[in-house]
Symmetry: C2
Subunit: 206 residues, 2 copies
């Protein structure tokens, strides 16, 4: 377990002050490992190298920590997706690029991904609603690429809505099973999944 050096994932680079950033990183690790409800504020604080009370100087509640992680995580992955959608090239290439980037992110940041994808039920009602909205947007981005492909005659998709759901679901679940000590690198998983998704939408082999 000593391979886990205390690197700062790029996601949290611009959180200040330093203590606040250490707290989010500690919270991500703890939430991903044990789940939100099984994680104590004492655990988060001690991982960040401070006393339990110090947490409350930077965050009002434990839930607010989860909310920040969830918000930033969703915005980042949504950004990757929109970038791919707005890129150049035919729908097939853009869908592959989107899947590659999305999957790569969920593998690379699989701890954050786990929190983002599987702990949102612990959010308070208004934060939950906000996150659900982001998720709907995310789904919309993939759907639009699929729709483009169908319209262009490049894809063969009988059920656009269902297939979109399945593609998104497949990519999201990477955060659950990905193991950095496993056989595949994030890039390799992204490549594999891009190919699988191409087949799912019946993309014309160029």
């Amino acid at each position: 377990m000593d391979a886990q050096e205390p690197k700062t994932p790029t996601a949290w680079r611009d959180i200040t002050p330093d203590a606040a950033r250490r707290l989010v990183i500690a919270a991500v690790e703890a939430f991903a490992e044990r789940g939100y409800h099984a994680t104590t504020t004492r655990d988060i604080a001690s991982r960040a190298g401070m006393s339990p009370a110090a947490l409350y100087i930077h965050y009002k509640t434990k839930e607010e920590l989860l909310y920040q992680i969830s918000r930033v995580g969703h915005l980042l992955s949504l950004g990757l997706l929109t970038e791919a959608r707005d890129g150049a090239g035919p729908p097939a290439a853009r869908l592959e690029a989107a899947v590659r980037a999305f999957v790569r992110w969920h593998a690379e940041h699989h701890t954050t991904g786990r929190v983002v994808q599987y702990e949102l039920g612990a959010l308070g009602p208004e934060h939950y609603a906000e996150i659900v909205d982001l998720r709907r947007t995310t789904e919309g981005v993939i759907r639009s690429i699929v729709t483009d492909g169908v319209a262009a005659g490049d894809f063969d998709v009988p059920d656009v809505s269902g297939t979109t759901l399945a593609v998104l679901s497949l990519c999201i679940d990477v955060a659950r099973w990905f193991n950095p000590d496993g056989r595949r690198t994030p890039d390799e998983v992204g490549e594999l999944y891009a190919g699988l998704v191409s087949r799912m939408v019946g993309a014309r082999t160029a």
Copy 2:
């Protein structure tokens, strides 16, 4: 919410005595709704219509309840899968049957499925090890069908291991997003997914 009649899912039919069965069903609902750690023994007991203390007559701990649910759930879905694998017909048909059954089960019993698939981290070490073993077996069943298809020249799968993982992942994640009030019935999702998986493995169109 009154559409939720207190039916007895077939999975728990043969648990006796009656109170013990009511407790598992209550626990499945509660765990699926809020997660294992956010569920209190008082909540489970009151859903089952009894006092908190009564739970401990039938189960030693709250974790044992989770273990029973996890064990039975894994065995049931594993049974469906092996049945499909050992059925008649070419690999393509058997893979489709497996996916159809597995997905249908995870949609129909999506509450149980959620607990089975997403709460196993809360199991104690020895129970966890036992469940992980069942999961390896499950993966092996799908892999063997894929391998059969490749050997028969019916599938085009560059990466058997990775594709198997993706297929399993896709099916499992149904438990997370499936909504019984949504547009799709379990049968429809099973059908959709069987088609998508066929494409993923590059099955020869019969």
